[in-house]
Structure formats: C-alpha cells, structure tokens
C-alpha cells in the first residue's frame, strides 16, 4: 500500500477560502441576482475567514521547525512555505483587500450587474498574490503572480465605457505581460544555472557549490529583478504606473497599487535574500541603483504633476525606491513594516481621491482639492495625516518605516544610498505639502463633498494606524520582527 503523504491543508486554507469565495460571488449572482449588499457580505465573510486562517497559520508557523532565521513549514513537496514572512505578507494583503472593498464599495455598487465580476476579480487577485507571497517554488510564484496580475488587468479595464480605463487596461496588460515574460525567462535561467526551482534549494545549491561561471545565474537574477521591478513600479520600469493609476477606476486603484507592491516586494525579498543571498555582492549594487533612481525620479516627477492620482503614482515610484532601500538593508522586519504601513496609507489616500473626484472618474486635478478643508474637514484632515505619513513625518508610522530602512541600509554599508534617500524625502515633502496647501490655504466656493460611511471606515483605520504605529511602533514592529523568512 502506498503511504499517502500527510497534507497540511492549513498552509493553503486562506487561498482556498478566497478562491471559493470568488466563485461563490459569481454563482450567487447568477442564481439569485441579489442586491450588491449581499455580494459584499459574501466577499467580506470570505476575507474575514481567510484572515482568521492566516492568524491560525501565524501561531502554527511559530511552533514549526527552524530553517535559517525563521520557523515554518514546507508543504506540498516544497511548493509552498508557511513561515512568518508569508503569513505577515498575506495578512497585509487581506487587510488591503478588506479596506479596498470598503473604499471601492461605491464604485462596485455602481457597476450594477458587473459588480459581481469586479468583486470576484478582486478576490481572485488576492488569491493569486497570496499564493505568490507563500511560494517556495519559482514556477508556483509565477503562477500566483499571473493569477493576481490578470485579475488586476481586468479590474483596471472595468469601466469599459471610458476610453481612459480601456487605455489603462491595455497598457497595463501589454507591459505587464511583457514583464511577466521577462520574469519567467529569468526563472528559467536561474533553473538552468542551478538546476533548482525551489528558493530554499537554490540557497542550498549556492552554499554547497562553487559556481565557476555564474553568468547564467546572474542574467536570470537580473531578469527577475526587472520583472518584479515592473510589478512594484520601481524606476526605470515605472512608466506604466501614472497612466494606469489615472485611468483605472478610482475606487479600486488604491487596492491595485498596494497589492502589487506587497506581493512584488515579498517575492523579491525571498528570491534575492533567501535564494540568492550568497550572491549579494552581485545584486546589491543593482538593487541600490534601482532604489536611488526610483526615489529621485519618483519624487522629482511627482513635484510637477497637476493631477493628484499621477502624483500618487510617482510617489509610489519613490516609495518603491524606499522599500528597495530596505531590501538593500537586508532586514525583512523593516521591509514588512514599510509595506504594511504604506499599503494602508495608499488605500486610504485613494479612498480620499475616490470621494473627491467620484468613484468612477479618472480625472483628479489638484484644483478639485481647493479649500477641501472647508468643504469636508474629515477628508482634508485624514488626507493631510496620510500624506504626512507617506512623507515620513515623525509621529506617523511613515517616519518609523523610513527610519527602519535607512538604518538597515546604513549598517549594511550603503551610506550613500541613505543620503540619497533622505534628500529624496525632502523633495517628497514638497509635493505632499503642495496638496495640503491647496486643501487648507486656498479658499473655495465649490460644493461640499459627501463622504460615504464605508470610506469613513477606511479613513479611520488608515489614520489611526498611521498615528498608532508612529507613536507605538512596537505594536507592529514586534510582529514584523517575528515574521522571518525561512
């Protein structure tokens, strides 16, 4: 009798829940044609259950075998990992999904019959990225990346009737598939060079063997960085971001941007530091170069944007640079903290954008924020706190996040990168302040802005987390410090 291997279902339970939830949303829609609220409840329950299972995973992973730094479980013959790093990343993804649903609710509701598709796509995107952050096998990772990305392309083009949305979707799709192809080519070369597809096996291979001509591995490494660099919109692979951020439906942009950043950086960290850590002398300069370029280019270009969404897109490029600085610093704690903090601020900021310029609209000129403090104090105050948080002002979580990655990069010997980073953050201050100036210092007679209760909820969560994690950073940093990759 052939012994059946024990299957640790818990490792993929959140993904199963998410996929089932997505299917359920579509089925319920076809069968009962309920109102949007019911579908929303199904999605919410899905996210809550997935999150509950990730909490379970967190405690289970902590009790498991230790490899490298972290503790965790390798399941499905090495395809999937269940370590603190993956679980933390997954939890961040789920939080973004929950808040993304709330922030985009007005939009999703307004889609009418297509709302179910959008909600299902949203859950599928989360499924994909959730697989990605837990992958040990590079092909598995690619699979997750594609599931997530394709769902995002669809979401970007959800407002078919608007040319901008179509343009954004096509652009995102073409460039995104191109980047995926580059990534998978890189994976192939890594396989060719090491004979392994599993990240932990690649690490072992490189530790036990001396690679005389690492050219193939290095080219593979470079291609993987390019592919993931595109997903996280790091310069010089960022050119799609402003158009997509502007064109995609306002309700879901924040979600799209935050998801890609979290999953992309978690994957990048795993491949570069866990898998190819022994080659770090080769890739550190590349990563540092990308980080510096992203920070400077992103901050500078954001200065000259007249549209808040484009500004946030370029600021996203700069943030990719800051997180990349954390990758250069080599500490998973700072990277995870930064990702969690930034993701919530991003979702919150785009919730404000959706409230000000309408959930489906794609134009959000800075003029439409004129005198916002008078028209809607809630929006203006929250937006100001979130912007200052993204700028990295002390007492907000953004400062702690920036400080963490800077300190790591400095102690890892990249002093010049930290100097570039602090200067870039000053430039960044200028454009965040520009929005605040318009909101507070200009007067306007334009009508008041209505803020839906779901958006209020998102803003409350984003603002409270920005301040609490800024004042008591230990509350999240301790968790991030425990979330070590295997």
């Amino acid at each position: 009798m052939i012994p059946t291997p024990e299957i640790s279902w818990i490792a993929i339970l959140p993904e199963i829940v998410l996929a089932v939830g997505a299917a359920l949303v579509l089925l319920v829609e076809v069968q009962w044609k309920p109102n949007a609220g019911t579908l929303g409840m199904v999605a919410a329950v899905t996210v809550v259950f997935a999150a509950a299972f990730s909490v379970l995973q967190w405690f289970q992973a902590a009790d498991e075998v230790t490899f490298g730094d972290g503790t965790g479980l390798i399941v499905f013959s090495g395809l999937v990992l269940m370590d603190g790093f993956a679980v933390f990343g997954r939890f961040a993804l789920l939080a973004v999904t929950g808040f993304g649903l709330l922030a985009g609710w007005q939009y999703l509701e307004g889609l009418g019959r297509r709302g179910a598709e959008a909600i299902a796509m949203l859950l599928l995107a989360t499924t994909g990225f959730s697989i990605m952050v837990a992958s040990n096998n590079l092909v598995m990772m690619f699979l997750g990346l594609e599931v997530g990305s394709i769902a995002l392309y669809v979401l970007a083009g959800m407002s078919r009737e608007r040319a901008r949305s179509d343009e954004a979707a096509i652009k995102y799709f073409l460039l995104g598939s191109f980047a995926s192809a580059i990534f998978v080519y890189g994976v192939a070369l890594l396989f060719a060079g090491t004979g392994q597809l599993e990240i932990l096996e690649i690490r072992r291979f490189l530790a036990q063997n001396v690679v005389l001509s690492p050219a193939v591995i290095l080219i593979g490494l470079g291609l993987v960085i390019v592919g993931l660099g595109f997903k996280v919109s790091a310069a010089p692979f960022h050119s799609w971001a402003p158009d997509v951020y502007q064109g995609a439906p306002g309700g879901v942009v924040g979600y799209m941007a935050a998801m890609a950043k979290i999953a992309g950086f978690v994957a990048m960290f795993r491949i570069l530091l866990t898998g190819l850590g022994s080659l770090e002398l080769r890739w550190l300069p590349i990563a540092a170069g990308i980080a510096a370029l992203s920070m400077l280019l992103g901050s500078t270009l954001a200065l000259v944007q007249g549209d808040v969404r484009r500004m946030l897109a370029y600021s996203g490029v700069a943030h990719a640079g800051f997180i990349m600085t954390g990758v250069v610093g080599g500490s998973s704690t700072s990277v995870l903290f930064y990702l969690a903090v930034y993701a919530l601020q991003l979702v919150g900021s785009f919730a404000v954008v959706a409230a000000v310029s309408g959930p489906a609209n794609s134009e959000s000129p800075i003029d439409s924020y004129r005198g916002l403090y008078r028209r809607s104090p809630v929006l203006a105050v929250s937006f100001a706190i979130l912007l200052l948080g993204m700028a990295g002002l002390p007492v907000t979580s953004g400062f702690i996040a920036k400080f963490g990655v800077f300190a790591d990069a400095w102690s890892n010997g990249f002093e010049w990168l930290v100097v570039v980073a602090v200067l870039a953050s000053v430039i960044a201050f200028a454009f965040y302040l520009r929005i605040i100036v318009v909101m507070y210092m200009d007067e306007s007679d334009v009508a008041d802005v209505a803020v839906s209760s779901t958006i209020r909820l998102v803003l409350a969560a984003a603002v409270v987390s920005t301040i609490v994690w800024g004042v008591l950073p230990g509350s999240l940093l301790d968790l991030a410090a425990d979330a070590l990759p295997l």
């Binding site: 007492v395 400095w410 100097v419 000053v426 302040l433 230990g474």
Partner: protein, 509 residues
C-alpha cells in the same frame, strides 16, 4: 514632571479643540489661560533647579527596546532658560493675536502644539526623540505661516519648510550613522545622548557627522549663507508666528550646536572654531548692513536677528566660559527683545496696515507709550549697559576675544552697526511731526498690549541689572561642556577663558 511640561500644551490643545467652532470669542482667551499653566510649571522647575552640572528631573521610559529608543527627558542649565523663554513667549504670542479672525480655533491649537514640540526639543536626552520633536514642530509652524500669514504666505511657508526639512534630513542621516556606529562598538542599540557621546569616531567620520548636524542647525539659526528663508518667513508670518519664530525656533539651532555638536563631536568642533566663527561674524556684519537699508520695519528686525544670532554662534564656538554663558543668556535676551520688537511691529501693523518705514513718522507725538516701549527694546537690542543685551554681548565678546581675537574685534563693530540701523529706524518712525493724516489719528497702546509688553520689559531690566539670577544656573552646565571638550581633545581653553581663571584671579576661590 518634565513630561507634564510637554503634555500640558498638548492637553490644552485638545481642550481648545473641543470648544465648538462658532464660539470664536472663547478660543483665544482660553488658549492664553491654558498656556499660563506650562509657564507656571516651568517657573517652579526654575525655582527648584539646583545650580549644579548635569541633568536634573531626569526621567526615562523605554520606547522601543530593539531600537534602543527611549522617552528620556532631562533639564540642565542650557535648556532651562530656553524652556522658560518658550513658556513665557507662548502666552504673549497668543495674547497678541486678537486680530486673527480667520479660524482662531485652529490657530490656538497649532500654537499650543508648537509649544509642546519646542519644549520637547529642549528636554530630549535621546537623539531619536529629539529628532521627532525637531521635525514635528515644522508642521504647526508651517500652518501658522501658511494660513495666517500675509500675501506671499504660501511661498514663505513652503520655503521655510523645505529649507529646514533639508537640514534635518542630513541630521537624520547623521543620527543613524551615530547609532549604527554605537551598535557596532557596544553591541546594543541606543540613541541616548550620553551613550552616543561615548562613541569612538574616526577623525574623518567625525567631521562628516559634525557637518551633517551643523548644517541642520545652521539653517535653523540661520547662519550665513543659509539664512535666505528667514526674511521671507518673518515678513509673511503673523505676529505670533514671528515672535515664536525669532524667540524660540531660531534658538533650536544655537541650542543644537551647543548641546549636540560640541558634546558629540568635540574634536571636529575644535577644528571648526574658525570656520564657524567666521561664518558667524559674516552673519553679524551682513545682517546688520542689510538691516540698515530695509524699507520694511519687520524685515529690518528680521535681518537684525541674523546679526544677533551670529553673535550667539560666535560665542558658542569661542569655546570659553564667557562665550558659552553669553551664548545661552543671549538666547534668552534675543528672544525677549526681538520677540518684543516683532510684537511692537505687529501692533503698528494692526493700526496702520503697513510696515513701511517711509509711510510712518512722528509717532512719538501720537503714541508716547508705544514709542517708549519701542525705544526701550531698541536699547536692549543694541546692548545698552543695564539692559539684558549688554550682558550677553559683553560675555560673548570677552569670551571670544580669548580664543578668536580677530573675529571678536570684527564682531564688536556689529554692535555699532546695530545702533545705526535701530536708532535710525527709530528716528524715521518716531521723531518729527506726524505729517500724514493716517499717522495723526493713531491710538496709543491699550491695556492688553501694555500687559503683554510689561513682563518682557521687566525681564529685560532684571536680566540687565542682575544677570546672576540666570547665569548662576547656566554656568555649571556650560563649564561641564568645556570639561567634556578638554577631556576628549587636545584643546585647552586659552587663559583667561575659563571661569576658574577669572575666579582665581579675582581671589574668590
């Protein structure tokens, strides 16, 4: 207790924020009343403060263990006068803001939060905590200039913010470098000032770090040539903003140089005395010369700040007892006199809606009390013996003559230039007959305005006649700074630059 000094203004800000928006008549008086509480507490701290070296009332609470950051506060003879000055100027600045009708609630809240941040800067003994306060005060000040300023306020606020944020960004890199070096050498993470003072730095690294900190503080001071944000910020800021900007915010720079640059990088500080001293003296002369030709009364006072702050920096980098004591007490003096001058300029602006010297004239005839206060403060600013300015400038000049004689001589001419621009301005504004119709109709100071100016004038006189009331508490701390420098470098304070020299010579020991 020191925590309460920071929390009181924050709590007050919350209280004011809870008052409904439409009760506009409540906000300002409530703010003034609440801001007297920190003043009372600071006065109590001053009263029980022992005149010895070292920090008193220290408290330390671990904030985030793995990073080694802590909420650690303490007060010594260098920070004590600054805390007193801050808590004194805030009620005065608020009391001077009755003309603010636009969103008074937000104005009071901003000012109180600003106060909390400023006090926090002076009390922090942890560099991480210090940086947080140092950076966070930019936001309320930015709003005060940007919302309640005059026409070009947005430009001035942005310029102020970017300049200072640029400086603090470099300092942040410096703080990280220090902490990382400390962790490498001692194995534990710490941002405590006392721990970081023990870090062994190579001469190269020490100079870089000195530069990173010095640039941040020099922008705040502002030291020539980094001063260009100041005239804009001052001219555009509302009166309260100008008072706090000149009175306290600029002192963050001189305080930082004294507290952090001298203690953390003694070697580099000794090497830099000529550079810093020369820049300071250039500032003294440049500020004074530019002030002479200003047609705008407020700009004139702003440039006089550049000149006066140059004196303070000169005193710090003289590295003598007189220089350091003079610098600390001159911090207070400048805060009082320049704060009062900005207040006075604000009063005339509220009446005449102009700050142009050429449009004023003969005001002494119509506003005798106002003219009296103005002249008094001008004399204090020039450094007339018997008033506080004299004590500070005299100590600084004596102190710097021992170590930087050439610079001291040049700087002394700044005193003469100060007499020129201030007295000339007084002549043009106050003497003669009021030839313009608008000037003839001006009313003299109200009781409220006199009650704002009177305490400042009284302190100017007290500190001028009996400076020992402050100097006794300052001296032990400045002496310990010099001890620290002498212990860590080859530098020896030239005779008779130490307080001990003077006392021994005078036979008092």
């Amino acid at each position: 207790m020191l925590t309460w000094l920071i929390l009181l203004p924050v709590a007050s800000a919350f209280v004011v924020a809870l008052v409904p928006r439409r009760r506009t008549e409540v906000h300002l008086p409530l703010g003034v009343a609440l801001s007297v509480l920190p003043l009372a507490l600071a006065a109590y701290v001053f009263y029980v403060f022992e005149p010895v070296a070292g920090y008193q009332f220290t408290e330390s609470q671990t904030w985030y263990e793995p990073w080694g950051i802590s909420w650690s506060l303490g007060i010594d003879g260098i920070s004590l006068p600054m805390v007193l000055l801050t808590t004194l100027l805030v009620p005065i600045a608020l009391g001077a803001s009755t003309s603010i009708t636009k969103r008074p609630k937000e104005f009071v809240v901003n000012t109180l939060l600003l106060e909390a941040g400023m006090i926090g800067v002076f009390l922090s003994l942890d560099l991480f905590l210090f940086f947080i306060f140092f950076e966070v005060i930019l936001v309320p000040m930015y709003f005060i200039i940007g919302i309640w300023g005059s026409e070009r306020r947005v430009y001035a606020a942005m310029k102020f913010f970017i300049y200072t944020a640029f400086g603090s960004a470099l300092m942040l890199a410096g703080i990280i470098a220090l902490a990382v070096t400390h962790a490498d050498q001692f194995g534990n993470a710490s941002f405590a000032l006392s721990d970081l003072m023990g870090v062994e730095l190579g001469p190269g690294a020490e100079r870089w770090l000195f530069a990173a900190f010095a640039i941040a503080f020099a922008i705040k001071v502002p030291l020539f040539p980094l001063h260009t944000w100041l005239p804009d910020a001052h001219t555009e800021a509302p009166t309260a903003g100008s008072i706090l900007l000149a009175g306290v915010l600029l002192k963050l720079g001189t305080y930082g140089l004294l507290r952090f640059n001298l203690s953390l990088f003694p070697g580099a500080s000794v090497d830099a005395i000529w550079i810093m001293g020369a820049l300071a003296v250039v500032g003294v002369i440049y500020g004074a010369v530019v002030a002479i030709v200003q047609p705008d009364l407020k700009k004139l006072v702003a440039y006089s700040s550049v000149s006066h702050l140059g004196f303070i920096v000169l005193g710090i980098f003289a590295l003598t007892s007189g220089g350091l004591q003079g610098a600390v007490i001159q911090n207070v003096n400048h805060g009082l006199t320049t704060g009062a001058l900005f207040l006075l300029v604000g009063m005339i602006y509220e009446r005449r809606h102009t700050k142009q010297i050429s449009e004023l004239g003969g005001l002494r005839k119509v506003m005798p009390i106002y003219a009296g206060f103005f002249l008094f403060m001008i004399f204090a600013s020039i450094g007339l013996p018997g008033l506080n300015g004299f004590v500070g400038e005299f100590l600084i000049l004596i102190g710097s003559f021992a170590s930087l004689p050439v610079l001291a001589v040049i700087a002394a001419s700044g005193v003469i230039l100060a007499a020129i621009y201030l007295l000339w301005a007084y002549e043009r504004v106050f003497t003669g007959v009021p030839d313009r119709e608008e000037n003839r109709a001006l009313s003299d100071l109200t009781l409220r305005e006199v009650s704002l100016l009177a305490p400042m004038a009284a302190l100017v006189l007290v500190l001028g006649l009996y400076p020992a009331v402050l100097l006794d508490k300052i001296a032990p701390s400045t002496e310990s700074v010099l001890d620290h420098i002498e212990a860590n470098t080859d530098y020896r304070v030239p005779e008779p630059g130490r307080l001990a020299d003077v006392y021994v010579a005078g036979g008092q020991r």
